[in-house]
Structures are given as C-alpha cells and as structure tokens.
C-alpha cells in the first residue's frame, strides 16, 4: 500500500514528461518556415509551463470551462484568418494558419489538468503538426527530429496505455454494502487494488521495451510501406522552407559572389565514377564546375560593374549534349573516362553546372548545352522546376590521372576519329563574331588593364599562353594584390570599379581578379571570358562525393589560345613535361599592340590547322579555352572543418534527401533527368565500408590521431564511441534487471510478480485477505514475517494501537502450525482457534475497516 501512490505518481509524471517532450519536438518540426518561426517557441513555452506548473507543481490548471472558451476563441480567430485569406489558392499561407491553430490548441491542452482524453488529443495534435510540417519543411532537421519524436511518442503511448488500464482497474475506496444508486450495481461490487498497482509498476518498464523492440520493427515496416508504395508522379518538394539557393544567372554583378561566400549552404553534390572500374573516381586539386560564361562587361549609371552573357544567336545556343567522343579519344590518350552525376539543390536560376568537355551519357532531354560555352542549362517546359532538387548525369573527358585538365577544346570533338570536328559544321562568321566579342575592351574607362599588361611585355613573347600566364602570376603573386571579401571601401565617383581595383585598391574578391585578368588579356588581343561557378576541394569520404557550397562560388578566366601554342601533352595535364616536338614555333609572334584576330583560333590558316591536327591527339580542334585562376590562394572562404562528424551528418542529409524527400516512383529512381541510373549508391556504400575498414585498421595499428586513433593522444571520436558503448551496455543491463524482454535465457520462474498464493492455514489466510483489502499483498519470495512487518508499518496510525504485536502473534502461530506438524495443515480448519488469535484477527479487521472507511474516493477521470 505504501508504494502504490508513489508508483501511480511516477507513472503520471513520466506520462506528463513524455507528452511535454513530444509536444516540443513536434512543434520544432515547424521551425523550417521563417514565417512561423514563433510557433515552436510558443508551443515549447506552454509545454514547459504546463509540465512544471500544472502537472508537477500543481499550482494551477485551466478549468474545463475556460479551456472550452479558449478553444472557441481560437477557432473564431482561425476562421477569421481563413476568411481574410480566402479559401482559394495560397496553400502555404493556409497551412501556416493550420499550424498556428494546432499550436494554440496544444497550448490550451497543456494548461489543463491531464486525463486520458487530454493525452489522446495531445497525441493527435502532435501527429497533425507533423503532417503540416511535412508539407513545408522537408529539411533534414525534420528527419532528425522524427526519430526521437517517434521513440518518445511510442514510449508515451505505452505509458498512456498503462495509465488507462490502471485507471480502469482503479479500486474503489472500500466495498461497503450500502445501496448504490445504480441498479446494475445494486448487488455486485468489485475492486482489484493489486491489478492497478501491477499495471502501474510494469507500465513504467513498458516504454523501454517499446522503444527497444518496437522502434526497429516500425521503422522496417514503414520503410517497406514507403518504398513499396506505387507512385505515378515525381516527388514534389516543399520549397526548402523558402530558402532557395542563389544560383548563377547570365548577369552577375561585381560583389555578388562575395555575398554568396557568406553562406555555407550546400549547393550541389558531384559524384565522379570511373566508368572502366565502376568505382568512385578520386581527384586531386580543386574541382571547377562552370555555371555561366559571361563575355560582356558593363558599368551602369551607379558605377556598378557587372558581367553579362552575350545573346548568342546561333542555332547551337541550345542543343543536346554532344555525343561521346570516338574510341581513340578515350583510349588513345590518358584521358580518363569519367561519369559525372550532379545533384543540384533548388536554385532560382536556369543554370546547371558542368565539367567540360562533357558528352551525352544518360543525360535526359531536360538538360541542354551551349557548345560554344560548354555550359548546361535546364530546357524550359520539360518539368525541371527550379524549386526542386534535381540530379543529372553526363560523361566528362576533363580528367587525367585524377586532375582536372585546364584546356577545353573550343568545340566538342566528333564522335570518332574519322568524323570532322563539329566546329567545321558551324557558321564561321558567327564564331568569329563571338571571338570578337571576347576581345571587347574599353581602354578609356579601364586604362590600367592595358597599362599593367604592357608592363609584363618588357620581355617580348610570341606565346599568348606565356603572356596569359604572366598576367595570372602578376595578379596572383607579383602585383601586390590582396584577396578580401571586405568591399566596404569608398568608391570613387566616375571611376570604374575595376579601374579602381587595378589602379588604387588592389583589393578585391575573385570576381575582381578574374575580371581584371579578362580585361588585361583582351587589352593584349587575347580573347578571354569570365566563367562563374564553383571551385571546391571538399570531398565527403563517407559518401564518396564532392560537395560544393555557396562559399565555394568562384570566378575564373578562360582565354582562347591557339592549339599551336599548347604543347600536346599539356593539353592533357599540367604535370606532363613538354616534349621537344611540342615546343611552339617562336617565329609566330603575337602582335600585342594591335588587337585583332591574328592570334585567334578561327583565324589560323589551313596549313596550320593540318599541322595542329597532326600534332593534336584530339582531332578536329584548332583552339582551346585555357583556364586561368588569378585569385590568390584560389579565393573562397575557409570552411571550418567538422571532420568525420560533419561527413556523417551530410551523408545522412543526402540520404534523407535522396531516398525520402525526393523518392520517386517504384522504379527506384530518384528525381533525376536521367533515363538510366548508375549504381552510385552501391559505390557509396562500398566507399563507406572501405572507410570503416580503413578506420578499423588504423584503430588496431594506433593510427595517425585522426579518427579513432588511440595510439597518439586523445581522440574525441574514440571517447564518444566508448561513451556510447558504455551507455548501451548500461541500458542493456538495466533492461535485464527489469526483466523487460522475457528472453529465454534469462527466464526465472521464481521471478513471477503479483500476489503470491494464499496459505492453506485458514486463520492466516483470513489475515492475508484482510490485508489485501488495503492493498498489502505478499509478493513471491517474501516471507510471512516480512509481510506482516511491512503491514505493521503500513497500517500504523497515530491514534490507534500498534498492530505489530497482533500481527507477530498471528505470524508465529502460522509458523508454529505450518512447520511444527505438517499433517496439521489439513486439520486446523476444524480446530477451535485460540482466543488470542481471534482477538488479533479482530484488531487487524478493525484497523482495515477503519482505513477503508476513511479512504477518499479516487479521482475519476472522464
């Protein structure tokens, strides 16, 4: 009896805590939408207030009448809001109102005295909040919250079930025989105090069992349901909570990339596969992904510089990706055959990202290319919504021995060695005009570009590649330029920002450096253009992919260099040493003083092309776009390294995005433009297992201190892992202690719970029945003496005589009868009972009846 209220109180307290946590977690799932960012705060506030002041401290509780009035007011308010909004479109706003309604009702519920109905309503509202949040928050945080919320919710429901059954068997205070008002109960009354206590006691253990056993089973079944569900439409996205990333358009202002660098949001994920070996392709050095190619520099009335793309009028402006090059191109050179798959976060621009030279490799019709720029775009009207994450594959010949080649042929090569280059089929006039556009330079507004470039020609050179390299070196190292994102310096009126950069400030971001180099190249007659995109060297070892973030946004330069000036092996790799045959004929001198077409690819004569074709191993091309990156240090912002934890988190994030949010039809594809899907995930998991294997080897050998290494000092990861293992072992031991699982190996028959069997000695059995009426029952393993000692303490009352002596007398008599003469067990029923034992039983009976008559009626919950 003594521990019954304590057990009931613990059950109720745990129930309250679980539901308060579930309320908080479910409201936090709404946090992805900035328009309703206060709702989680409100919900958490009222959940904590309700838990502490209503449930635990019991300082106050909202009366049911006040609660109904509040709910009515909330309903009126919501209806008014809906009416103002209209019942038409505006889905997001309506869902926000629904979320608001749910949170307000939850707040009212939390302030009420809890009963079964309130708990059930709280559970329903948590579930509804999850549904609403699922519509406008599909971020990974939702998935992260879903797991603990599921565990807490399951444990809360288990506690609620124990609470319900214990309430249903809650005993009446006493079984008196006074006529009750209800006819159906006129003659029979029942109570089972032990049952309620048993439900309460084991109800405290059930949540742990539910969490351990039920959660994996539910997750498994839910996965089967989710992935087995037939779908006919591609998955839609809910807009990332309004956070569409800034993409690249065909108009980029100076400083725009600098603002992008302030965010570390993930922009795209690049997976490279070695087609021959069917494994992830490992690269060295930064990976350049071009998003837009900009040819025209403008300065507006506010002296703000910007780059825009030329309005390309040729038919090739939008075309399918070129076919894969011929066999010689792939096999004859050490160019690696790489398959690229890019997963692009929702962006607000049409630009896709590419690694040129690319070719068709399962790329769907929704992705088109501009061959003269080597860029990819969404084809309008195909269904690639900018609000959706998309994945598109293509093939790339841009890598050699793990390094991205800086030379890109101007036109895509033909499909085989015999076919002419696609450039031969193009309009030579348009191509020449494009080259002329890449030479436009306003020497009046930006005279410093020409002046500084001319200073680099103190030692004349006929090699445009050499000159471009000098300019790049000048901007990067020797010119005294400084990379900075702080562009708060004073702008000089009437001065072009690039002129100010080159002449005065010499401080700027990658856009300033690249723009300056483009203009310096153009001032010397070398066609050049600005390329914006991402340059990343972040590689997720666990997932086996490169990650490009907003802070990896970058601008660099491409200069059109005649193939004659490019050593053949340099076209493949910067690391290869030039051969004697590949040395450029120094007699061909570039006329740097007169900008023109003399040094440009389209202006070379036929003999030169033939020579070049013989030398080049990429047939049919006569010039190359050569990448220069004049930004000191490669630019960008150093991202704080999160190590393996970040890798795991991001891998999980992508898993969530790929296999939950963007999960598509039952064919197993994700949201992709591809017709066929490469087996990338298999490789990812292989990569993951290889990583684990490698780490285990490092662990065994002492390692290098990064990761699980324990041989060279303290490792946080190892410490956390050890802590997690210790906690797991502790929980398992606790579970064993509570006998919660009923595992066959640890079953003990003697560990049965509940009241033990009644003794056969009649007078002692009567005594125990009396004690059972006030909830004192003998548990298995408890001796009669222990039981009566506990009963004497429990039945102690200040105004009454102690029952210690009568109970001891009865116990001694029981021992005497039971063990002195075993045969007497059967005969005692017919023996007269000594008067002292009768008196002892009477005293116990009187005390029990006194307690029963004074017990208050239990609170009945409706």
């Amino acid at each position: 009896m003594s521990n019954r209220p304590a057990t009931a109180s613990r059950l109720k307290t745990r129930l309250n805590v679980h539901f308060a946590i579930a309320t908080c977690l479910s409201s936090l799932t709404l946090s992805g939408n900035p328009d309703i960012e206060m709702l989680p705060v409100i919900a958490c506030f009222f959940a904590i207030i309700g838990l502490v002041f209503v449930d635990l401290l019991r300082w106050f509780a909202l009366p049911p009448t006040a609660a109904y009035i509040s709910l009515g007011a909330i309903a009126l308010y919501s209806i008014g809001q809906f009416t103002e909004l209209g019942f038409g479109l505006a889905d997001d706003k309506q869902m926000e109102l629904v979320a608001e309604l749910l949170v307000l009702v939850q707040a009212v519920l939390m302030l009420q005295q809890k009963n079964r109905r309130i708990y059930e309503q709280l559970a329903i509202f948590c579930l509804l909040e999850l549904i609403v949040a699922a519509i406008f928050n599909d971020a990974f945080i939702y998935g992260l919250l879903l797991l603990p919320l599921g565990v807490i919710g399951a444990a809360g429901l288990a506690l609620l079930q124990a609470y319900v059954v214990s309430e249903e068997t809650l005993p009446a205070a006493s079984l008196d025989s006074s006529p009750p008002p209800e006819p159906s109960l006129a003659v029979v009354r029942t109570r089972s105090p032990g049952s309620s206590q048993s439900f309460q006691r084991w109800g405290l253990v059930l949540p742990a069992v539910t969490a351990c056993v039920l959660t994996p089973a539910v997750l498994l079944l839910a996965m089967l349901f989710f992935y087995g569900l037939p779908r006919t439409h591609p998955a839609a996205r809910s807009g990332s909570g309004g956070k569409v990333l800034v993409g690249f358009s065909e108009n980029v202002r100076l400083g725009q990339i600098g603002r992008m660098l302030q965010s570390d949001s993930l922009a795209l994920r690049i997976e490279l596969f070695d087609r021959g070996a069917e494994k992830p392709y490992m690269t060295h050095g930064p990976l350049y992904l071009r998003g837009a190619v900009l040819e025209k520099y403008n300065t507006d009335y506010s002296n703000q510089g910007s780059w825009t793309a030329l309005d390309v009028q040729s038919a090739a402006a939008v075309a399918p990706l070129p076919p894969a090059p011929g066999a010689i191109f792939r096999d004859g050179l050490p160019v690696d055959d790489v398959r690229v798959r890019i997963t692009l976060e929702p962006t607000n621009g049409p630009a896709l990202f590419a690694i040129p030279p690319f070719h068709q490799l399962g790329t769907g019709p929704a992705v088109v290319s501009q061959e003269d720029r080597w860029i990819l775009k969404r084809r309008p009207g195909i269904g690639l919504s900018a609000a959706n994450r998309i994945t598109y594959p293509f093939g790339s010949s841009a890598f050699s021995n793990g390094q991205q080649i800086r030379y890109v042929p101007r036109w895509p090569p033909g499909p085989n060695s015999d076919s002419p280059p696609t450039a031969a089929t193009r309009d030579a006039y348009a191509a020449a005009r494009y080259v002329r556009s890449c030479l436009e330079y306003d020497a009046f507004r930006i005279p410093s570009a020409k002046r500084l470039a001319a200073t680099l020609l103190t030692e004349p050179t006929a090699d445009p590649l050499e000159l471009a390299t000098r300019i790049e070196d000048f901007l990067t190292y020797r010119g005294g330029f400084q990379y900075t994102l702080d562009l708060s310096g004073e702008t000089r009126p009437g001065i072009d920002p690039l002129e100010q950069f080159l002449d005065t400030d010499r401080r700027g971001n990658c856009q300033h450096f690249a723009s300056a180099m483009v203009l310096m190249l153009r001032s010397q007659g070398i066609p050049a253009r600005l390329v914006v995109g991402y340059s990343t060297d972040e590689y997720n070892l666990l997932g086996g992919y490169h990650a490009a973030r907003q802070l990896h946004a970058h601008a660099w330069v491409e200069a059109l260099i005649d193939a004659r000036f490019i050593p053949a092996d340099k076209r493949i790799s910067d690391h290869a040493e030039p051969t004697d045959e590949a040395v450029v004929d120094s007699a061909t001198v570039v006329n740097v003083s007169e900008p023109g077409l003399a040094a440009n690819g389209r202006a070379v004569d036929t003999a030169d092309r033939e020579i070049a074709a013989n030398d080049w191993r990429l047939p049919g091309e006569d010039s190359y776009w050569v990448r220069f990156d004049p930004t000191p240090g490669g630019g960008g912002v150093e991202r704080p390294s999160g190590g393996r934890v970040t890798d795991v988190f991001e891998f999980a994030q992508h898993f969530w995005a790929d296999y939950v949010v963007d999960r598509n039809a039952a064919s197993g594809t994700r949201d992709s433009t591809s017709a066929g899907r490469p087996s990338a995930i298999t490789s990812q998991y292989e990569s993951m297992f290889r990583w684990i294997d490698r780490k285990l080897i490092e662990l065994r050998s002492g390692g290098d201190g990064d990761g699980f290494a324990i041989g060279s000092g303290f490792s946080w990861v190892a410490a956390l892992g050890f802590f997690a293992l210790a906690m797991l072992a502790y929980l398992l031991l606790q579970a064993r202690h509570h006998h919660g699982f009923g595992w066959p190996g640890r079953r003990r028959r003697g560990a049965a719970t509940g009241p033990a069997a009644m003794p056969q000695i009649a007078f002692f059995a009567d005594t125990l029945r009396l004690l059972a009426r006030v909830g004192i029952e003998r548990s298995p393993g408890q001796t009669p003496l222990e039981l009566t000692s506990q009963a004497a303490k429990s039945l102690e009352q200040p105004e009454g005589a102690s029952l210690k002596r009568p109970l001891r007398l009865l116990t001694d008599a029981f021992y005497d009868t039971r063990y002195r003469d075993p045969a007497g067990v059967d005969s005692t029923a017919e023996e007269p009972l000594p008067a002292d034992l009768v008196a002892a039983i009477e005293s116990v009976r009187n005390r029990v009846e006194a307690i029963e008559s004074r017990s208050p009626a239990p609170p009945h919950q409706s």
């Binding site: 319900v164 068997t169 029923a829």
Partner: protein, 428 residues
C-alpha cells in the same frame, strides 16, 4: 490454439481510429500532392498499427485463464476471485493483460431452458469485474484477483471472462472471451446473534443428550480404538496400540451433543408481491422481512452447524419444501446454506409437509424452531401436534418481535465466516 485464433477479436480503439484516419489523410494528401514526407508519416502510423495488431493478437494467443472461486461466500462479505494466468508463449511476454469477468445472477425462478451459463450477459443485472497483470513473462503463470462484494444471496454465474490487451501502444484492443462457466452460491447474509441468544434454545447437556462418536481429541470422553482408515489424520493415531498390534490404530471419542434442534423456515410472502429475484435494486418491505428471516436461519446454521457436538436439521418451506440434516459436518452445513440461498417465498408455504420432513430427518427428541415472517397466530393449530411433549417447539416471528430477540436485523457486526471457525468455540 486454432480455437483461440478464431475467437480473438482485434478492434481499433478511439485513439487507433484517429491515428488511422490521419494516416489515410496523409496517404491521400501525399499521393495527390506528390509529397513524400506525409507518406513517410503514413508509413510510420500504418507500421505502428500493424505491429500493434500482431503484437496484441500474438499476446492473447499464448494467454490461458483459469478462475478459482472461493469455497464459500456470504452476502455482504467481500470475497476474492482469483485468476491463474498462464503465458504459454515461448518468447513473447504478455503486457498489460486485463481480465473482464462477467458476473450474473441465475434467476431462482423462471429459468429458461435455453439459458446458457456463459451467456450471462442476457441476464439482467450483470456486472463486470476487472483485474489484470502488468506483465506475464513467457512460460510463466501468475495470479491476479479481484475482491467482490455481493449484497444479496443467490446463485451467481461467473463468465465469460474476457482477456484483453492493448499493449504496447493502445491503438488496438485485442480480446478473447473465455467461457469459463462457473457458479457460486452466495449464502444469505450473516447477522449478529443477540447476547443471550442461547437462552432461546434448550441446551442438552448430559441426561437426555444423544451421543455421537467422532475421532480426535477435541472434546468428549474416550470411547475406544479402531483401525486406521483413509482420511484419518495422523494426529489421531494411537501410537502405543499401533506399535503393539503392528498396524495403525486411531482413537475415538464420545461427545455429548450440545444442541439438538431443527430449524424450520416459513418462507411466507404475501400474495400480490411477485418475487422478482434478488437482483432487483430495491425490495418490498415484505421481501426484506423474509430476507431477514432467511438470514437469521443462515446465521443459526452457521453458528451451530459446523460444531460436531451439535445436531441441526433444516427444513425450508417456500415454493418448494426441502430439508437437510447436519451432524456437524462441513459439507452438510454448506448444503443447508445452499437451500437457504435458493429459497424463494410463496404465499402458501406447505407447513404440513415441512413438519413431516422435520420428523423424518429428526428422529428422536429434537427441538423445533420455526422462523417466520408471520406472527405465531398465523400458524395452523395442529401444526405441532405430531411432536411429543418433551419436544420444545417455538415460533419466532419477525412480525411480533420474537425473532428480533434472537438476531439483530442489521449485520453491522457479522459473525466470523466459517473458515475462521470461531463459532464452535463460543457456542459452548
């Protein structure tokens, strides 16, 4: 087991219906709008429902019930009904097992031929008792119980017992009815005898007292030694004789009967009062008076019957006239209490037949006490003519107050139940 499978009913609880509705809503909405996350939620809820269904159903498949009724029960006295709950499953513990036991009262009159004890829900006044266990580990048996208080005498039917569980999440409730038909006689309420109740009866000490032989040394004088028979306690063995003759021998004692009387209950109920059965919430005053008379008879039987030194006879004259004699045995006392339990009143009790049965079971000298709701004047003049002058015949009536001198109408201080057996000690 196959019967168990077919008899298990699984239904959604209120919370389960709400969850299922939300799951359907999420599924339809997610499918229409092509949102995946609502589908994930729907999958989780559906999975929880499926797991709940299988878990609760599998739990009940392994649970077996056995009810243990008490040996005796008196109206107005709480008694305990026990259930032995066995979990036969080899791996699954049974969580939050609830037992709903139906209790119905078998009509003492107008029993229909189609009546089946396990369909007691058709009986008006049925109620349900609840008890249960938090957990029953696999391959183990536990006991749970509920206390029951029945305020009116009668024969009560127990069953069907419905075992159910909503564990682990309470989204579904699996239940299985177990017929477990059992009946229990709830004997009439025991009342408190007046302080000088013995003065109402002539005690027979020595002299004309009849003798009875019994075993054991409770009281009485040594009578002799006989051979040991099955059922004899080892405490009765006379060891010296046993050692001498080489086979067990037990002692016999001769006891003097203290009370030798016959109780006749006149179950008179005025015409116009239709016996409605004891399940009715209220009773007519005449019915209450009759119940007092019957309870007084039961109290006397309980006080005098179990004592071996007494010889008690009981004749009840109601709609049927029945009799039972007792020589101090427990079974005979219970038989008398059962007759009183099933006694129903009538406006024309056959007292002549009752007297004949008194003489048949009484034999030689026996005192007669008639307990009646009617005054003694209502008794036929020649009612006691068959008895000799040495027989004391008394008519104790509830109407003229003579019954009230014997037994109180209230049961505030009810005597001990038979199991404590303190009555015999007090009676002498």
């Amino acid at each position: 087991m196959s019967d168990h499978r077919s008899s298990i009913h699984v239904r959604l609880t209120r919370l389960g219906w709400q969850f299922a509705f939300i799951a359907v809503f999420a599924m339809v909405g997610g499918a229409i709008r092509a949102y995946n996350l609502p589908l994930v939620l729907a999958g989780l809820v559906v999975a929880a429902l499926v797991i709940q269904w299988r878990w609760s159903r599998q739990t009940l498949l392994g649970v077996k019930l056995e009810r243990r009724l008490p040996d005796e029960a008196f109206a107005g006295e709480p008694f305990t009904i026990r259930f032995l709950v066995t979990n036969r499953s080899g791996w699954l513990p049974a969580w939050l097992v609830r037992i709903d036991d139906a209790i119905g009262q078998r009509p003492t009159i107008g029993v229909r031929s189609w009546f089946r004890p396990w369909r007691v829900e058709q009986v008006r006044g049925m109620t349900t008792a609840r008890c249960g266990l938090g957990v029953i580990l696999s391959r183990s048996t536990l006991t749970t119980s509920y206390q029951c208080l029945i305020t009116r005498r009668g024969r009560y039917d127990f069953g069907p017992a419905t075992v159910s569980t909503g564990a682990p999440l309470g989204l579904m409730l699996a239940s299985r009815p177990e017929p477990l038909p059992q009946s229990l006689y709830v004997f009439p309420r025991l009342l408190t005898l007046r302080h000088r109740w013995r003065n109402e009866f002539p005690a027979r000490i020595g002299g004309n007292a009849t003798a009875a032989r019994r075993h054991g040394g409770h009281d009485g004088e040594f009578f002799g030694i006989r051979g040991w028979r099955n059922g004899d306690s080892r405490r009765w063995i006379h060891w010296r004789t046993t050692a001498r003759i080489g086979e067990p021998a037990v002692r016999q004692y001769e006891q003097t009967r203290r009370f030798d009387l016959c109780v006749l209950v006149d179950a008179y109920l005025p015409s116009g009062i239709k016996p409605r059965g004891v399940i009715e919430p209220t009773m007519e005053p005449a019915e209450e008076t009759l119940e007092w008379v019957i309870s007084a008879a039961a109290t006397l039987v309980m006080r005098l019957g179990p004592t071996p030194a007494n010889r008690i006879g009981l004749v009840v004259a109601g709609r049927q006239t029945r009799s039972q004699a007792s020589g101090g045995g427990r079974e005979q006392t219970i038989a008398m209490l059962r007759q009183l339990t099933e006694l129903s009143g009538t406006d024309a009790p056959d007292l002549a037949e009752a007297i004949r049965q008194v003489l048949r079971i009484g034999g030689k000298p026996r005192d007669l006490i008639v307990l009646s709701p009617r005054p003694s004047a209502a008794a036929p003049n020649d009612l006691f003519r068959p008895f000799s002058t040495s027989t004391s015949c008394r008519w104790l009536s509830a109407a003229d107050g003579t019954l009230g001198q014997l037994v109180a109408q209230s049961s505030a201080e009810a005597p001990q139940p038979m199991t404590t057996d303190s009555a015999g000690q007090e009676s002498v």
